[in-house]
């Protein structure tokens, strides 16, 4: 029996554990000091406390993770997403220690992690946005003569929006260039940056690929244009923007790029799409947060296939087995203010997810759980499947309004509003969607809110007490020293 160490936390750790059990593999875990009470620990057969609070002290520490693998005697390690998922160094350390890394080889990670090299390879198959790597400010300045403004500066080794700068004119260029280099250096240990023409308000469409030593196949695309601060909030598949012809071209291009890189395991080829034209953006060499929507329409367990690829069994599916049907949507429910998106820590009082046919919840939350401040704010993924897009949207609407999470604010009100937005309903939206969103309100809910705000909070307990008094019909109030005014509290 194989043992697999899940080098991650939260919902993805529980998700990976599920596929392990399905395959008869023993899921093992690690947890930080801050994650002692986390659900992912309970999903594992064995788990090691690796100490520390911050990611750097815990889940990002290669040494500690490798120690845990050895201590538990694991054969495989699955990095999930984030943390060490795309670290060539971690993949290499695993290789050196005879541990199977469930992901691409360190060589592939080195390639996909270098965005300039990935761009070069991709440019042989797909249009890329005009631009190049820039090391000196003077070069940047002369590049603007060719590509103009606005432009975007990105870290070569970057990700997650760090190091990213959008520059609208030449006055902003100098500062943006040096601050991007600084941030890149701090975040990724490399100050290499590249500059591209900035495509304003594109759609963001990605293709799920998975490969083994002999083949690379695709599992269709995902539309991920609903974003704020370059982070996705809603994803759906298939993309309402693509015609069958463009879809066919896009997926073929994605497969060609991956094949050229000798890519193995699961990955995502990301594209920008605007005015009928698409551009290669980057290749993400990990399982994506939004992978469940692809699983819903294809019926393929991506984590299971990742493990098959890594255990040299290879893919158990062929391209012809991939027959997506229906429509799936994912809403990322974050512990954030739904309008400002400011993350919020706190204790979850009630956690009562919706259930039903075609409703999937990926989460590690439970009532009474205290969200630590050290990690991301994603608390639950709500995924809904429908036979068509309308059915999926309707199911999502119903599921969102019956999802009870209390004690902390969540992005549920955002999702409720987004799914009622005409642009979303028409399938006609881009990355500017969130900025222009009108929040949905209900008249009855407004009345409920108005009433709650005026009823003094001590009243919460008062009506019951008073009712008790009133119900005691034999109670002789005249004998009371004090006369009771039932409206006293309200009148104060």
């Amino acid at each position: 029996m194989y043992k697999l160490l899940i080098a991650n936390r939260g919902e993805i750790a529980t998700r990976i554990a599920r596929s392990c059990r399905k395959l008869g593999i023993s899921p093992c875990g690690i947890y930080s000091e801050a994650d002692k009470n986390s659900l992912h620990v309970k999903y594992c057969d064995e788990a090691v406390n690796i100490g520390g609070m911050t990611p750097v002290e815990s889940y990002l520490c290669i040494e500690k993770v490798i120690d845990a693998v050895k201590k538990l005697g694991c054969d495989l390690v699955h990095p999930g997403y984030g943390f060490l998922a795309e670290s060539a160094e971690f993949s290499e350390t695993c290789e050196e220690n005879g541990i199977t890394f469930v992901g691409p080889s360190s060589k592939t990670l080195g390639l996909s992690g270098d965005k300039v090299r990935a761009r070069e390879i991709a440019s042989k198959f797909a249009p890329i946005v005009e631009g190049k790597e820039i090391s000196m400010y003077d070069e940047a300045s002369s590049l603007t003569q060719i590509i103009g403004f606005p432009l975007i500066i990105k870290a070569v080794k970057g990700g997650g929006g760090r190091g990213l700068r959008i520059v609208n004119n030449s006055r902003e260029l100098k500062n943006a260039f040096s601050s991007s280099k600084n941030e890149a250096s701090i975040s990724f240990g490399s100050d290499r940056v590249y500059i591209e023409k900035y495509i304003q308000n594109p759609r963001h469409i990605e293709v799920q690929i998975i490969g083994d030593k002999s083949d690379v196949i695709h599992l269709g695309e995902r539309e991920c244009s609903v974003q704020r601060r370059h982070q996705k909030l809603i994803e759906e598949t298939p993309s309402p923007a693509l015609t069958p012809e463009i879809r066919d071209r896009l997926t073929k291009i994605a497969v060609s790029i991956a094949k050229k890189m000798a890519y193995t395991n699961a990955g995502t080829v990301e594209f920008l799409y605007k005015d009928g034209r698409f551009y290669f953006m980057e290749l993400n060499s990990r399982i994506q947060v939004e992978h469940p929507i692809t699983e819903m329409v294809t019926g393929i367990d991506i984590v299971e296939q990742q493990i098959h690829v890594s255990t040299s069994k290879g893919l158990t599916i062929k391209q012809t087995d991939v027959k997506p049907k229906g429509h799936a949507i994912e809403c990322r429910i974050n512990a954030e203010h739904p309008v400002t998106f400011v993350p919020h820590v706190g204790t979850i009082k009630q956690f009562d997810p919706p259930k039903g046919d075609g409703v999937r919840i990926d989460t590690a939350m439970f009532a009474g759980y205290s969200i630590p401040s050290f990690y991301d704010s994603l608390i639950s993924k709500l995924i809904c499947f429908g036979n068509n897009r309308n059915e999926a949207i309707e199911k999502m609407m119903r599921s969102l309004s019956s999802f009870r999470i209390s004690g902390i604010p969540t992005t549920i009100p955002f999702h409720v509003s987004a799914l009622r937005d005409k642009r979303f309903l028409d399938g006609n939206y881009d990355t500017s969607f969130v900025n222009q969103l009108n929040y949905f309100s209900s008249k009855e809910g407004e009345i409920a809110a108005a009433l709650i705000s005026v009823i003094p909070k001590k009243i919460h307990f008062l009506p019951k007490n008073k009712l008790d008094l009133w119900n005691r019909s034999r109670f002789d109030w005249s004998k009371e020293d004090q006369h009771i005014d039932p409206f006293f509290e309200w009148n104060k």
Partner: protein, 162 residues
Amino acid sequence: MIGAKKTNILILSLSGINKMIVVVNGNNYDIVIFGSKARVNGREIEINLGEDYITLGRKTFHLDYIEEGTVSFFIINGISYTVSRSLTDVIESKEIRAPIGGRVVEVMAKEGQEIKKGDLLIILEAMKMENLIRASSAGRIGHLLIQKGQSVKTGDILLILE
């Protein structure tokens, strides 16, 4: 004396019930609360507030998140609400309402009558008890809206002071 009616004395504050104006998601709501009822923009609603829910009539609203401040923020049934209450919105109302539903047994008060604190105004029979409704301070009765023998529900206006 088993079976005899007990007497319950209720002294109602003559300051009446405050009327409040609350702005929710940009819309104004004019609210009066009395007993288990509220009047919102002139419409009466039966309310019941629990620790994490409120019912309006038969509908339940889940209070997912409450953040109170000068501008409050609520999430109710998965929808967000921004609520503000102006501090000057307290308008003194001179209505006296039935604290409990029942039958009016006796009406001592008369329109135009000057009353002083402690005056017996109305006797209301409810739950086998006679509720003596007395004035808690002085004033003058403007309108009397009930008659002897009439049944009243909780929150019904009994009289209006000038």
